[in-house]
């Protein structure tokens, strides 16, 4: 079977990464921003898997790393959602523009 | 334990004492006992010092001892006293005692107030006995922060702004001092073979001229800010105007003297070549301060501003004496520090007493103080006469010593500086007598003033203690001259040895 070239995978992960960045910068809803962060993480995961597969096929570090990132991301999501819920209770909104009391 | 450490320990133990008790009255009594004990101890120490000298002690510093504080940086708790530091310690003890007495009636946050006062005095004592530049700096800083709080919390008028200005300007001064002493530390390593903060060791090192110049200006200007040297003096009038009476007394009586002592002991003593070469700049600044300070005083209506500006003028004599670099002028500078310290404390005490009663400090709104409150009026007149240099009081002795010391230089530049400085005492007479004429003499200006009471017992004692100091220096200056003579000679010789 013809292998998918590495470049394609990298293009995919870059696209995912910049989509995530774009989403993070433009979305005002914190949940959406969180989702964008997940996209970024996933793009990194793809990179790890791809490089592991193409550069060091006999080793498993890249896959381990990906698994770690998924676990950490899960923890991070739960934390982030807890924060967002608390913010919602206090400000009655999840719009990030409204939550700007930590300044000056 | 070294006996000198008691100077720091006594106020510290007093602090512990007042932290433990609750009753305001007890706090006052403990503070009073502590500061009285300190005066007794300082006098005893002086007696010991004199008898040791008579017994033939020739070391430059007596009661010397040194302990490691922080070895990696070579910071030691190195203490010792000579005649100059002893008179400064006596001054501090007397002013603190008087300040505590004057503040007897403070009702707001009594514990914190006396805590701050005592902390300030710890800083001053520590500064005067330190022979290590780092610990000296440590104590210098210790004396700054309480001032900010004293003015900010217990002050009057635009107290926040003025407290802030004072703290920031003094902090700038200490920043310069810090740069200077860090510079000395590294310079001692590069050029003297050993990194050290120790004044005694540093004085034996010969640093290159260009290094000395930089460090001289850093430390002289830095300590100059504390002294209220022109043009870094503006913290003084504003700070005083807002400060509570005792804080004003400390500020002008002790704090400005920290700077003067630093000018002599650090800036001039440790950078002898630069001092000889560049002190003329500070002669100019001092002359300006003396003359122009006196002129600016003429225009002040607020008695506190008047005394603050007059302090700028009088402290100019300290800077002038130090910058003149003759033995007699050094002696004059030291005497002027002591004299001005006591005198200005007395002046602020008198002004504070008037303000507490009449609720105004404007000389044109007051009048008839002498008639209504003879004791306070007399205290004011005595302080004024001291300020204008009347013989029999301390101001005369110190100013004349500075003049005689300055006259040793023959150049026309020095002559003009001395004559201008001498001319300022005429202007001093003008503003003192104007204020006396308006505020103290004459008749009372408002009906309600007829009910005002004369000084209470605590105020009387405070005034009497300070007046005794003034008169003692004024009538028996030889006592003090003998105490400091050898030490100013030593500094002078040091400056002319290289």
């Amino acid at each position: 079977m013809e292998q998918v070239p590495l470049a394609h995978l990298l293009i995919l992960s870059s696209a995912l990464f910049f989509l995530g960045i774009y989403g993070f910068f433009t979305r005002r809803n914190m949940i959406t921003m969180l989702m964008s962060v997940e996209l970024i993480l996933n793009s990194v995961n793809i990179n790890f898997i791809a490089f592991n597969k193409y550069l060091f096929p006999n080793q498993l570090e890249g896959i381990f790393f990906t698994l770690f990132i998924i676990a950490v991301a899960a923890a991070e999501v739960s934390l982030a959602i807890a924060i967002i819920i608390n913010l919602f209770r206090k400000f009655n909104t999840v719009d990030v523009e409204e939550v700007d009391t930590m300044k000056f | 334990m070294n006996i000198l450490s008691l100077l720091i320990l006594i106020p510290l133990l007093t602090v512990v004492g007042i932290l433990l008790v609750k009753s305001d009255q007890l706090i006052r009594k403990i503070t009073l006992a502590g500061s009285a004990l300190q005066v007794i101890f300082a006098s005893w120490l002086t007696a010991q010092y004199v008898s040791l000298r008579h017994a033939g002690a020739t070391a430059q510093m007596l009661f010397e001892s040194s302990r490691v504080w922080f070895r990696p940086l070579g910071i030691n708790y190195h203490i010792g006293v000579d005649g100059i530091s002893l008179v400064m310690i006596l001054l501090t003890a007397v002013v603190v005692l008087a300040g505590v007495l004057v503040s007897w009636k403070i009702e707001k946050q009594v514990k914190e107030f006396f805590f701050m006062l005592l902390l300030l005095s710890v800083g001053a004592y520590g500064f005067f006995i330190s022979l290590n530049l780092f610990s000296m700096f440590f104590f210098l800083e210790l004396a700054v922060i309480p001032k900010y709080l004293l003015i900010g919390i217990w002050g009057t008028g635009k107290k926040e702004n003025n407290a802030m200005k004072l703290a920031l300007m003094l902090m700038t001064g200490s920043a310069l001092v810090f740069l200077g002493i860090v510079g000395l530390y590294f310079a001692s390593g590069w050029f003297g073979g050993e990194h050290t903060w120790d004044i005694m060791k540093l004085s034996h090192m010969h640093l290159p001229m260009n290094v000395q110049v930089i460090l001289y200006f850093l430390t002289f200007i830095g300590f100059g800010v504390f002294t209220g040297m022109f043009p870094f003096h503006t913290w003084a009038p504003d700070g005083h105007s807002s400060a509570p009476t005792a804080a004003s007394m400390f500020l002008a009586g002790i704090s400005m003297k920290l700077g003067g002592y630093g000018l002599l002991r650090v800036a001039t003593y440790l950078m002898p070549d630069a001092a000889r070469e560049y002190s003329w700049i500070f002669i100019i600044l001092a002359t300006i301060a003396i003359f122009y300070g006196a002129l600016a005083t003429l225009m002040q209506k607020d008695l506190k501003y008047m005394n603050a500006y007059s302090s700028v003028s009088h402290v100019g004599f300290v800077v002038l004496g130090v910058a003149m670099i003759t033995k007699v002028a050094f002696a004059g500078a030291v005497l002027q520090m002591v004299s001005h310290g006591i005198m200005t404390a007395l002046f602020f005490a008198a002004i504070g007493m008037i303000y507490d009663r009449a609720h105004t400090r404007m000389s044109n709104e007051l009048g008839g103080v002498l008639k209504q409150m003879p004791f306070i009026g007399t205290v004011f007149i005595i302080a004024g006469l001291t300020s204008l240099g009347l013989p029999g009081f301390s101001g005369f002795v110190s100013e004349m010593t500075v003049f005689v010391g300055s006259w040793v230089h023959t150049g026309i530049f020095y002559r003009v500086a001395t004559i201008l400085a001498a001319a300022s005492i005429v202007i001093t007479a003008v503003y003192i007598l104007r204020a006396t004429g308006f505020a103290i003499w004459g008749t009372i200006t408002r009906k309600e003033y007829a009910l005002l009471k004369d000084a209470s017992w605590n105020e009387r004692w405070a005034a009497v203690i300070l007046i005794v100091g003034i008169v003692l220096i004024g009538l028996a200056p030889f006592l003090f001259m003998h105490l400091i003579n050898a030490d100013v000679q030593e500094i002078f010789n040091h400056l002319h040895a290289g």
Binding site: F24 | L295, M299, F396, V397, L433, G437
Partner: protein, 644 residues
């Protein structure tokens, strides 16, 4: 008791009086405080008499010459091994003479004040101040050291200040006290600088060391000080002129005379003691003290003294003729008479036959003390009776105040130089000294002397004649013995003081000196004096409009003299307009706005800057991420640029 202790006690007794009455005054009954002060002063006077006897007739003379006797030495303020301020007491002819004058007049004034100040609110304080003044004045005359003299010089200044301002609820008294202190302080600046110069040049402040080092031609110190010159005059001349400026301030010489007439705001006995007999002659005493240095080292300075004295003598006498306040007339008269003393010193020189002026000046100081104090005490008792200082409120008082009338007349004759009263002898000595050495000064002095007789008799006739006495007036003097006895005692001095063979005791060299009285010299001054008295009698014995017509004829000159030649206005202009407006106000403004302005500006600039950059911290999460991402991008670009 040894002489040393006696001499020490003379100044210490008045000090004791001051401390006793000043510190414990509240616990002493008002009735006794005056008596205590007077008794203590009386004791001091007795001791002074003993001292004078001892000095002049027992210990003072060695080898036909009076030499100084030093005692109670104290190294007060050591500056260097060879320079220090020493305190001490000295007896020599002039200090002993001053000792007598001060203690005598002071005792008289103490006693007089028992009556004059009776019922005053601050009676005890008044006596305390009197004690303080007497102490400081005695300290001044007994000084062995020029710095010591400066110390007491300032102290007499302050006691004078306190006494002028004794009625401190009166604004005019406050102003006068202030003026007196500040004007003399200004002059003292010259004194101080002169002292510094002398001390620097001669390495000593002791009078006798100074004289020793600076009055022997060829002494190395003298050569050094006369060798160096500044603006055409030698250092020594400058130093002595500066010292004399101090003396001129205290002695109210032109242009520093303005404080003395105002000083009359004080109680009248004070004017008699301080502003007529003792303190104001301190300047004369100072010049006399340093006379050998003046005469040998700096004759130019002595010439300045002479001209200043002569000019002031004439100037003040002119003003005295126009004043209407009796104390002001006496004040200007004092200024004028001190001018006489100073020009007498000024015309003297060093060497045989030239020192007569010195003795004459001292002699006049001595006689003047008694008759001028008497005139003031007389004026005091008149004011006490009439309750006014203005001449127009008086007149015809000879019946109701007989003792005052007689004593005043005697004093007036004495000051006019009519033989055989005291003033005649001293004035003759002055004129004869001046005639020999300086004709200009002689003629100026003669005119001033003539005016003296005129203004003093104008005063006399205006007070005691002028109007017809009120037949029913009761005797104002009844029961005022405390006031009358001092006046009578002073009158004795005014009448007989001139018969003392003054030259035997006091001379510049210490050797006896004959003061010749020749008829040819007497005729002119005495004749002019008598003529002026007659003129004054014609003009003022009866009320008439002649004086007013003369005033109108003189016009502008009279007005100028009446307004004291506008010197006060000039001073006021200098202080108010120049010192306050042109120097004080700009300094204060500069300090507030430029120096402190810089500080405040630094603060506000820092705050403005922080306001500007605080926007970066917006609290917006996405903005922060944007910065972060931008930063990463920048780094990436930099790295690529570096490695690619």
């Amino acid at each position: 008791m040894t002489l040393d202790n006696i001499v020490l006690l003379i100044p210490l007794l008045p000090l004791l009086s001051f401390l006793l009455l000043g510190l414990a005054g509240k616990h002493i009954s008002v009735r006794f405080s005056g008596v205590i002060g007077s008794v203590i002063l009386g004791a001091s006077l007795v001791l002074a008499l003993i001292t004078a006897y001892d000095y002049f007739f027992a210990i003072g003379k060695q080898g036909g010459e009076f030499i100084p006797y030093l005692t109670a030495q104290l190294n007060w303020l050591p500056f260097n091994s060879d320079l220090s301020i020493n305190l001490g007491l000295v007896l020599d002819p002039i200090s002993v003479m001053m000792l007598l004058v001060v203690t005598f007049v002071s005792t008289m004034v103490h006693v007089y004040s028992l009556g004059y100040m009776k019922g005053e609110e601050r009676y005890t304080t008044y006596y305390a101040y009197l004690g303080l003044f007497t102490f400081t004045m005695l300290g001044l005359v007994l000084s062995t050291n020029i710095f010591q003299m400066y110390i007491f010089w300032e102290l007499v200044g302050v006691s004078s200040y306190l006494l002028i301002g004794f009625y401190f609820s009166r604004p005019s008294a406050v102003a006068a006290a202030k003026k007196a202190f500040i004007v003399t302080r200004f002059a003292d600046l010259g004194f101080l600088i002169g002292i510094l110069m002398l001390g620097y040049g001669a390495h000593s402040y002791d009078f006798f060391t100074l004289i020793d080092r600076l009055s022997h031609p060829g002494s190395s110190y003298l050569v050094a000080m006369t060798g160096a010159s500044f603006l055409g005059m030698s250092t020594l001349t400058w130093a002595l002129i500066l010292v004399f400026i101090g003396g001129a301030g205290k002695s109210a010489m032109f242009p520093f005379h303005i404080w003395l007439p105002d000083a009359m705001e004080g109680p009248t006995p004070i004017s008699a003691l301080i502003h007529a007999a003792t303190m104001v002659v301190a300047g004369v005493y100072l010049v006399a003290r340093l006379f050998p240095i003046f005469a040998v080292g700096a004759p130019d300075a002595l010439t300045v003294v002479g001209y200043v004295g002569a000019f002031t003598a004439l100037f003040a006498a002119t003003i005295a003729c126009t004043q209407t306040d009796i104390k002001k007339v006496l004040a200007y008269s004092t200024i004028s008479q001190i001018g006489f003393m100073l020009f007498a010193l000024g015309v003297a020189g060093w060497g045989p036959g030239k020192t007569e002026g010195f003795t004459a000046g001292m002699f006049h100081l001595f006689t003047h003390a008694s008759f001028k104090a008497l005139l003031f005490l007389g004026a005091g008792s008149i004011i006490h009776a009439v309750h006014s200082n203005e001449m127009k409120d008086m007149g015809g008082l000879r019946k109701s105040m007989p003792i005052t009338h007689i004593t005043f007349l005697l004093a007036a004759l004495a000051i006019s130089g009519i033989p055989p009263f005291a003033g005649f002898f001293s004035k003759e000595a002055i004129f004869s000294a001046a005639e020999q050495s300086n004709p200009i000064i002689y003629w100026v002095g003669l005119i001033a002397g003539t005016l003296t007789a005129f203004y003093i008799f104008r005063l006399y006739f205006m007070i005691f004649w002028h109007k017809t006495p009120d037949a029913h007036a009761h005797n104002h003097e009844k029961g005022e013995w405390a006031m009358m006895i001092p006046m009578m005692l002073l009158a004795v001095g005014a009448v007989f003081g001139g018969f003392i063979p003054f030259g035997d005791f006091i001379s510049a060299t210490g050797k006896p000196l004959e003061l010749p009285i020749e008829l040819s010299h007497i005729i002119l001054p005495v004749g002019l004096g008598v003529l002026s008295i007659v003129a004054a009698a014609i003009l003022y014995r009866k009320e008439s409009d002649v004086p007013q017509r003369i005033v109108n004829a003189l016009g502008g000159f009279y007005r100028a003299a009446y307004r004291k030649f506008y010197i006060d206005e000039i001073y006021l202009f200098i202080t108010k307009k120049i010192v306050f407006k042109l120097m004080g106000r700009p300094s204060a403004w500069f300090d507030r706005n430029v120096v402190d302005g810089t500080v405040q500006k630094t603060g506000s600039l820092t705050i403005a800057l922080s306001h500007a950059i605080k926007r970066v911290q917006s609290g917006k999460l996405q903005a922060y991420t944007m910065y972060f991402f931008g930063g990463v991008l920048l780094l990436v670009v930099l790295l690529l640029y570096k490695f690619a």
